[in-house]
Amino acid sequence: MKESTKMLLHYITGLGIVIVGGIHLFTVFLTGPYEQNLAFSGGPYSVISVYRSFILALTLELLLVFVDYHALNGIRVILIEFHQGAKWERGVSWILAVAGLLLFVYGTRTILIANALA
């Protein structure tokens, strides 16, 4: 992937985070008592209620994908600014890509299991 494509994706995911991250923070802080929304169950926006709702679980999944890319690409930018060289750049990019994939799988697993909790 070209460097400019990676950075374009960085800006797109950044704007995506503003939207879905806004929804995430909205459901936690602005939809009712904070204690109720951070309780495991009991309210319409309590922890497990959010995961059980398909739409809200989907926003969490999108947030996971966006933040995953944005954060790891940010680290990549820092690391290739720290030291230059084709070998270093390839190594850093691949290691972070694998780390990002593992985080994505683990986070998706959390969302899928929490969505299926009886």
Partner: protein, 158 residues
Amino acid sequence: MTEPLIPQLKKALFGWFYPFKYNIERWAYALQRISGIAVTGYFLAHIVETGNVVGGLDVWSTPPTSYAQDVWTATFQFLDNPMFDLGLVVIGFMLTYHTVNGIRLTLAEFGFLQGRPARPDFPYTPKSFGMAQRAIFWLSVILAAATAVYAINIFFGA
């Protein structure tokens, strides 16, 4: 050929995080990078924390709901102390700053609010960092401070 690691690291950290003697854009840059690293740390912790609620790496099938509820309640009680609350206040500040300043950077990236090129005259104020961009930078600082106050009110208010 390449410098040894420690001097290289020292040089890099000074170059990134020593904004004194430069203009305000350098502060914006250093803060953006520090807040990015901080929020990444929060993101990783958040993935681990929520993953533990459904069993972590030990359980690879759907656990009973009561199990998840117990882990969630235990985690919530463990995190409910002034140290973590203070950490969340800082994360709130960092997150808001990174968001609003990030919008400024996105606008600049796509060519908005850049100012017109002009002859460089003393005292050499950068045309690329004009009034509009300065306004958004200060807005990001103000909103970040407001977020911190909001968080302090939630965690430490009556």
